[in-house]
């Protein structure tokens, strides 16, 4: 019997995309285009905003009754700061939308936007977290007595004693510099008002169309039923498109007001300047170890520069709180103390970007482990071996529960593949010839596929997490599955079809997965946080099992057999061990099809991996070349190994970019310097080495399909592996680098400092 899960079948998504017949938001024609006039300064008051005669312009004054974006969590002292969709009186970051103009073409819209005269009274901009924490810093939002928007702390009862009694105290302080997800497709929206029905259809580059619908309807005070949101083909999201764009709200408002169709296409400069940033984080950790290198206690301190406003729905708390909750990672450390804070600055809003805070916390922990290894005199692999969680379920000091996984086994697999002894010999020879090669590793676990309980625990007003799937088998045996997740490259149309096909005994080609259109799909939470295959996959499995049960019962009746003896496969329902069979299509025809739904709201499941990077540091140019990269990962059952590998490749590439190349830079006045792809350096094929991926499948009861999420693992582990490799390479020169990206300029400075 042919089974489909576990097979690398090619994707159903590909044919259209390869022909150039993909349907991306900016592909839709529109009679009108909107362009935003954006603040050229980081902080100050708007004195006037005047458009020339004949230019249709919208400002905050026109948006009476439109709500402000103010996502909420009710914990950790979170201050619900507000962002008006167009700046009202005050601007708080360079690039903040101040006004919108409408024209007949994108070219004309840009001319109009440039012709708008903006007058400001500039204020003092606060750009870095350190500045914003100073007592004399201006408070960026009214009603706050500091720029700290969220703070939390915890200390386990035995922590102090453990720190005091330690044989070794090891410190690490890392700096993660500001990132941008840089999807190849910038954000875009197309709002079409239907004069007959009074409804508006917003086609947009969103990772969560239902949530966009709810949010915009709420802010505009309109009936959610009057808004249809469609996420068509989306050219990458990586989190940047999961937070609500204020621009969409203005766009829908304008389309309704003018009773027409208007499109907005963000350009790359706007995308770099004003689309969500991420990971501007400092983490200091201290590890207490006993004489044998056992990790007794961990102290952490986290400061996240979260920008000027709060992203919807996650709020400005997401990065510091995730750091706080997940810092200990895969290590079995019982005593934990951590203080974390998110601070507001006059910079672009920070929102989750693939991995969110985890690349930074993994860097902190993995640098700590490598430093501890040196201090205590253990190999980096050995100190990890002595401290990785081995017994499951494991509850962390912050209350997370790790389900069945394979931290030590995957680390062993990665080390074998990297041939560490062979490398060390090569490294010695190279050093003798004046060349600096290094090997670095990182081990981590990744929280994936978590449902509403996790969001409730954060105290979020909006509690995403569950997924519904509406499934129908028609009278010819063909299946449609309508899902609330919203893929943008993950291949969900293919992987869900594989799961459903196996359950129903048909082929994936007979399954159509429908997503993205809120008129056509059940309410769902979109695609982010490595959740879709776990949760929509789980819901699909549940729905398919219900239909399977009906097929089996009907087949049993038709074939005069016991239900327990019926097998489904290859398009037939068969009495086991006989050749008595009936075509599934025939059963469907006889019963005029079947319909059912699945609902899944899991607690979450932790995948894990070890990454190993081999690098060469050229001290003449201070450039780092990544020669080879190994990933050994365990994400449970692989539904489609080819798609899993693709996700890992892409994540690792972004992780290498984080480690070496990408950085959003502001000057001291809050002016953003990286506004082109000549300044913000994304990796090309030359910068990404061959990536070897090894798989292990630990099947956990925490995920009904057996699959864990893998979308973010690449970005989480790769930066630490690369940084550890750089440090390994430069150890003979006494250099330590704990900042990413480890640019040539930073490596040079570290070399100078070590001399």
């Amino acid at each position: 019997m042919k089974r489909w899960t576990g097979r690398p079948i090619t994707r159903f998504e590909d044919n259209m995309l390869l022909r150039g017949a993909g349907r991306f938001t900016a592909d839709l024609p529109s009679p009108k285009y909107m362009r935003f006039v954006r603040s050229p300064i980081a902080a100050g008051k708007i004195e006037s905003c005047v458009a020339p005669e004949g230019v249709v312009m919208i400002t905050a004054a026109d948006l009476e009754g439109v709500g402000a974006i103010a996502p909420m969590i009710r914990k950790f002292g979170y201050v619900p700061i507000e962002q008006t969709v167009l700046a009202r009186d005050v601007v708080r970051y360079t690039g903040e939308p101040v006004a919108a103009v409408i024209a007949d073409s994108e070219e004309e819209a840009e001319d109009f936007a440039d012709s708008v005269m903006l007058d400001f009274r500039p204020g003092d901009a606060v750009v870095t977290a350190a500045e914003s924490l100073l007592a004399r810093a201006p408070f960026i939002h009214p009603g706050m007595d500091s720029n700290v928007v969220v703070r939390t702390a915890m200390t386990t009862p035995g922590h102090q004693a453990a720190m005091a009694g330690a044989a070794h105290l090891v410190r690490a302080k890392i700096r993660s510099r500001r990132q941008s997800a840089l999807p190849m497709e910038t954000r875009a929206g197309h709002a079409a008002f239907d004069v007959e029905t009074g409804r508006t259809t917003l086609t947009c580059t969103a990772q969560m169309p239902h949530l966009v619908r709810t949010a915009i309807a709420g802010l505009l005070g309109m009936d959610e039923a009057d808004l249809r949101v469609i996420a068509p083909d989306v050219g990458g999201g990586f989190g940047q498109k999961m937070s609500l764009a204020a621009e969409y709200v203005v766009l829908v408002w304008a389309a309704r007001k003018l009773r027409t169709t208007i499109a907005w296409v963000e350009d790359r400069r706007e995308n770099l300047m004003a689309s969500f940033h991420s990971r501007d984080i400092e983490i200091a950790v201290t590890g207490a170890f006993d004489a044998d290198g056992r990790f007794l206690a961990l102290s952490g301190d986290v400061t996240a520069n979260v920008g000027a406003y709060a992203p919807y729905p996650n709020t400005a708390a997401v990065e510091p709180l995730m750091s706080f909750t997940e810092l200990p990672g895969p290590y079995d450390v019982k005593e934990y103390s951590c203080a974390a804070r998110g601070v507001i600055t006059n910079t672009c809003v920070s929102a989750p970007y693939r991995g969110v805070a985890r690349p930074a916390i993994t860097l902190a922990m993995e640098r700590l482990m490598d430093k501890a290894a040196v201090v205590i005199g253990l190999e980096p692999a050995e100190i990890r071996r002595r401290n990785l969680v081995q017994k499951f379920p494991h509850t962390t000091p912050a209350g997370l529960v790790y389900d069945d996984a394979s931290y030590t086994e995957t680390m062993a697999a990665a080390l074998r593949a990297a041939d560490v002894p062979g490398f060390r010999a090569r490294q010695r020879d190279a050093l003798a010839a004046g060349r600096y090669l290094g090997l670095g590793m990182s081990t981590f676990c990744e929280r994936t596929g978590y449902g509403s309980a996790a969001f409730a625990a954060r105290g979020m007003d909006i509690q995403p997490g569950w997924e519904n799937v509406d499934m129908r088998m028609d009278a010819s045996g063909k299946v449609t599955a309508r899902i609330g997740a919203s893929p943008h490259g993950q291949g969900l149309r293919t992987t869900l079809a594989q799961i459903i096909a196996d359950t129903l005994g048909i082929t994936p080609a007979e399954v159509t997965v429908i997503h993205g259109d809120t008129d056509d799909t059940p309410y769902g939470w979109g695609t982010f946080a490595s959740r879709s295959l776990v949760i929509s996959g789980g819901a699909s499995l549940i729905a398919a099992r219900k239909i399977r049960a009906k097929l089996i019962d009907d087949a049993a009746e038709m074939l005069e057999a016991a239900a327990a003896d019926i097998e489904l496969g290859d398009g037939f329902a068969r009495v086991a061990g006989t050749d008595r069979a009936v075509a599934i299509a025939a059963i469907a025809g006889a019963k005029n099809g079947f319909a059912d739904e699945g609902f899944y709201d899991p607690l979450g499941t932790f995948s894990n991996a070890t990454h190993i990077a081999i690098v060469e540091v050229d001290v003449g140019t201070c450039k780092v070349k990544v020669e080879k990269f190994v990933v050994a990962e365990d994400a449970g059952r692989l539904i489609n190994p080819m798609i899993v590998d693709g996700q890992i490749h892409g994540g690792v590439a972004q992780g290498i970019a984080n480690a070496l190349l990408e950085e959003i830079v502001y000057d001291e006045t809050g002016n953003i310097l990286t506004i082109s792809l000549a300044d913000f350096l994304a990796p090309t094929a030359h910068e990404i080495p061959p990536i070897e991926v090894l798989h292990r499948e630990t099947i956990s009861a925490a995920t009904i399909t057996g699959a864990k999420g893998i979308g973010e693992g690449g970005t989480i582990g790769a930066p630490a592996a690369v940084l550890n490799a750089i440090n390994d390479a430069l150890r003979p020169l006494g250099v330590e680098i704990d900042e990413m990206p480890a640019t040539p300029a930073r490596i040079f400075a570290a070399l100078q400092a070590a001399r």
Binding site: E110, D111, G620, C622, S676, A749
Partner: protein
């Protein structure tokens, strides 16, 4: 990032192009050659020319010909045209090698030699080539034709002696028969602008280097020959120690460009590396 509006002209002869430029330059008219530098600037609205004079169909502007030890490269010759050998000597070998460092193939398919010179980006490979080999350019304006030597041509960051109403017609470079040469470029990613680059060429006579041309680019406001480094090499035999001295002299003699990513010390370090490696390449 749409460009501003402009009037478009497409002359088919040099005479027509020069006449148009003469008439329109006062109104912000500019030459459109490969567009690989100009159009991005226009997309950012850092350049807003009221008129563009497209010279891509002007006859006779792209020819490449060698004679009497000199290579004449028509201003409209594409980078890609120089990716295969067009003459002998050290120049014939270095042109394809250097061309491979300019951007990527789709950029090289359109970008022009003359466009690079006129644009005078501090990190332009062709500008470094012209300055190092003491080449020259032919320009044509309403006042007639004139020749400008490389040393007089570049005079600031993206500033040259080319007048607004002059059309760059061709560049001249010595073929350098029998010369050794080396080239090294430091950049963040392959094809990126150089953070520092060095081109060196010399003749070995009786075991010592003579007529050394050593130029650096990407490190100062415009590329130039570094006399201090050449002095450390002329009359000396090749060897790692001599090369290191020249590299040090180059770093010391530098007037480095700096920015938030690049300190003076770091720029000097990169120049030292580029010089050392270009010299090492000259004897490889």
């Amino acid at each position: 990032m749409k460009t501003c509006g402009f009037k478009y002209h497409r002359p088919e002869s040099v005479a027509a192009a020069v006449a148009l430029l003469g008439a329109l330059a006062p109104q912000g008219g500019r030459i459109l050659a490969g567009g690989q530098s100009l159009v991005p600037m226009m997309a950012y609205r850092m350049a807003q020319p009221g008129h563009l004079i497209d010279i891509n169909r002007v006859a006779g502007l792209a020819g490449v010909s060698a004679g009497a030890g000199v290579l004449r490269i028509g201003a409209a010759a594409r980078h890609a045209a120089l990716a295969r050998p067009v003459c002998g000597g050290a120049l014939g070998a270095m042109l394809p090698h250097i061309a491979g460092h300019i951007g990527h193939a789709p950029i090289r398919n359109r970008g022009t030699f003359g466009g690079s010179l006129a644009n005078a980006d501090p990190a332009s490979e062709w500008c470094t080539l012209l300055a190092t080999l003491d080449g020259g350019v032919e320009v044509l304006g309403p006042a007639g034709e004139r020749r400008i030597a490389a040393a007089a041509f570049f005079n600031g960051v993206m500033a040259t002696a080319l007048r607004d109403d002059e059309l760059l017609m061709a560049a001249h470079l010595p073929v350098l028969q029998g010369y050794n040469w080396g080239f090294y470029e430091v950049n963040r990613r392959a094809g990126d602008y150089a953070m520092a680059m060095c081109l060196v060429a010399y003749r070995r006579v009786d075991g010592v280097m003579t007529d050394v041309h050593l130029g650096i680019g990407g490190a100062e406001a415009f590329p130039r020959r570094l006399a201090e480094a050449e002095f450390a090499l002329n009359g000396q035999p090749v060897g790692a120690e001599i090369f290191a001295r020249a590299a040090d002299a180059a770093a010391a003699g530098l007037d480095p460009m700096t920015d938030h990513n690049m300190s003076a010390d770091f720029r000097r370090h990169l120049v030292r590396t580029a010089v050392a490696r270009a010299l090492a390449g000259s004897v490889a």
